[in-house]
Symmetry: C3
């Protein structure tokens, strides 16, 4: 709902404290509500329940989502021009879809199929026998190894690795390590985004899978044979051990670690730096290491902070009880 | 020892719950023993003490190792065809060994020597004066900087960096930081494997060293001047500070941190997320931050979980002692 | 101040326990003082208050800084020869400064300006509309995305990514995630160094900024819209959430995590593995998760280690009080 002059024109999006006349801004995080009165923006996207602003208001039940849609309209990111660079090395048995844009020094291996309107930035390396859906965007220095299957509308940020060998070794009698050949594969479903420098390993047998609509941040490690459900969010520097099952709609905050061979139930939320060592029931909110219920963990932390008080109390009780015992002896 | 029809043929390896007729599977982790009765595999590799399976059994004292060997036989990974891509940039003073496979856009610097049967995937960049042994496999986007020495049968997964500058700065009087030129080198011994995106820094003086047979997982940081022994295992997202000595046969689980200038004794095992701040005696099993004996740490964690009980007990004692004191006043 | 034979010649720098005749070494970390008497170096840089060594002494109030300067003199790193590789792909509208060295397979996009004496190692990819100052060194496989602004004397180690999309998604009513287009930019000021594999994201609006003289180690994640001040040090595997403000002269040790939307005051020092969840006052020294004053945290850790003693004491008090109560009943 627009509240204000409907004929106003905005040409740019900006942060609430950096916006100038002609800019559209937004207020999604209530933490910043105090900044609203001072904004110089021409219009602001606010939550339905905001009543007053120094500029036109565009009310929305989900200001962040409305903002996302507005940015896409105001600052469209023009796709690179279609065409295959003369400096790319595309195997003659590979198929590149219509209207794809393939940059300089891209390598595409034998038998690989890339869908329509793909953007392969310079220095993307795709192995042999890979399948890639339509409308994917792979940024510079992405590696996709042999045999991986990738859906449509998948975005891989710079330096992402899909299909590297899992960390699988068997110990020999002499203590040395025998590599387990990692001949399984990786499947990345539709609408997945993977952040810069993240790595997704392939397993010895079977597959590693990233479910549709899952978004992974930078420098995240996904172990071999792990299956991640749909619409999962994983923040930066988290690591998921091998053969773990992460159900739909799970959220892992930054620097979370998940041991291998676990099952994390649907909708679980793990706070930053959680270390998950056991299966987690659906809907749980967890924190700490070993991770447990977040309220229990917060209470435990508060009690640890009061440990010196407890120690003093016990010392006082000891003295008083001793005095009483002496008197009554 | 084969227990079953010796004329059975298997053509593929598969996970125990995904195997079909014609597949070979394995049971190494006792956690999955219950899956054995339901497998549809034609044959299963099991531990010597397993007595019954719904298919042929191949018994082994080390099923995981036998599985590793079976995979290598059943699904041999054909090496890329030997030859040097016309699109590679090999310095004329570099030497590439017999039967090597050098992909598109590979760069090899002046005076570098690469051993026989090396596989340098597309987009590998090797600096000047590097030596590389026989039978190495470097995946796409690996960087090896000037002067590094690498042994034989070394595997570097995608995006690995060997020989980047260590994080060495001296503070000037004005609070700014003067870079210490990192003119030392890195030595990687035989049979090492390094996971995708991991980085091994070079020091100001001397060398950083990774011992023979050591295996490093993805996104691991090895600091400048650190020496890692033989057959060490380091899991994902761990970081080792500079000038630290990690002895043979150490295991570091995921997201472990080791402060610089320490000595970690032979055979130490550090649990996930350990933060190691002091020297560790050989054979220790440690956990937590600051890391200490794993049993002590587990006991401490259990006591923290019971802190609210302890608090209630102390409150109860306080009340009872107060009542007694009043009565006796 | 030189103490010893002023005509001595040294030709190499070496670690104190590896130095041979003809080498210059240094003693900066008092932990290694015991190694001084055994060194075979020809000369050693020591702190002003060191009185005795088995070789010539070069005394300095800051031995590490003097060492840094000595290394630069003794082992000058010859810059690569100027020139642009015939195998680079430089857009015709890009400008490369005088005496720059541009390696094989480098990509520079339309409208980008690179300053004088830049070293762009092989496989560096620079987007469109980027500005880069003078005397920068970018190692192999660096990615700099469209529109980023980089100052002078900036060093980017291998595989660094500047300007990847921030992790910004708005939740739709059906639980799926709408990407917020990340159309802001990144500014990296003069004299910054970023370690191998680290990533700096661009925001939806405004900019991410790294202040002058800041040094970032390997595998560090800097979130979108975060502003880092001047002379900040950030060690390996740390992650900074989005929209956080890190003031000048802050030090974050390894594997530190900082939640988004915080302000970390000037000169704060955070110990390894700290998890910072609230604003931090200038000058604070913090540790733990949630991070708090380092002395409080150390005391808390010590108390946890004595929890079993406290438990035994409370059990003893309970028994004694019960006995007293029975007697007096």
């Amino acid at each position: 709902v627009l509240d204000g002059d409907g004929s106003l024109e905005v040409g740019r999006v900006a942060a609430i404290d950096e916006a100038e006349a002609g800019d559209l801004t937004f207020l999604a995080n209530p933490k910043y509500a105090s900044k609203l009165s001072g904004t110089r923006a021409t219009a602001v996207i606010v939550h339905d329940d905001v009543s007053d602003a120094p500029c036109a208001m565009l009310r929305s039940p989900n200001p962040y989502l409305t903002f996302a849609e507005s940015v896409a309209v105001l600052t469209p990111d023009p796709p690179p021009e279609p065409g295959i660079s003369a400096q790319a090395a595309i195997d003659e048995t590979a198929h590149i879809g219509a209207d794809a844009s393939v940059g300089a020094f891209v390598v595409v291996g034998a038998g690989t199929r890339v869908g329509a309107r793909a953007v392969l930035a310079p220095h993307v390396v795709i192995g042999r026998g890979v399948t890639i859906g339509d409308d994917c965007v792979f940024h510079a220095h992405v590696s996709v190894r042999d045999g991986v299957a990738i859906g449509s509308r998948v975005v891989l940020q710079n330096g992402v690795v899909i299909g590297s060998d899992g960390f699988g070794f068997a110990r020999r009698t002499d203590g040395s390590h025998q590599k387990i050949p990692q001949v399984g594969t990786v499947a990345v479903e539709d609408d997945v985004e993977v952040g810069a420098g993240s790595t997704v390993d392939r397993p010895a047998v079977g597959e590693t899978r990233i479910g549709a609509g899952t978004k992974i941040d930078n420098l995240v490690q996904v172990g071999h044979g792990t299956r991640i459900g749909k619409r999962v969010l994983i923040a930066a520097l988290s690591g998921i051990g091998g053969s773990t099952l992460i159900d739909d709609d799970v959220t892992l905050a930054g620097q979370v670690g998940v041991v291998g061979h676990l099952r994390i139930g649907r909708g679980v939320v793990a706070m930053a730096k959680s270390g998950i060592t056991k299966d987690v029931a659906p809907g749980s909110r967890i924190a700490g290491f070993p991770a447990r219920d977040v309220d229990e963990w917060l209470q435990g932390q508060a009690l640890v902070r009061r440990l010196s008080d407890l120690g003093r109390l016990v010392a006082d009780l000891t003295a008083r009880l001793g005095a009483l015992e002496s008197r009554l002896k």
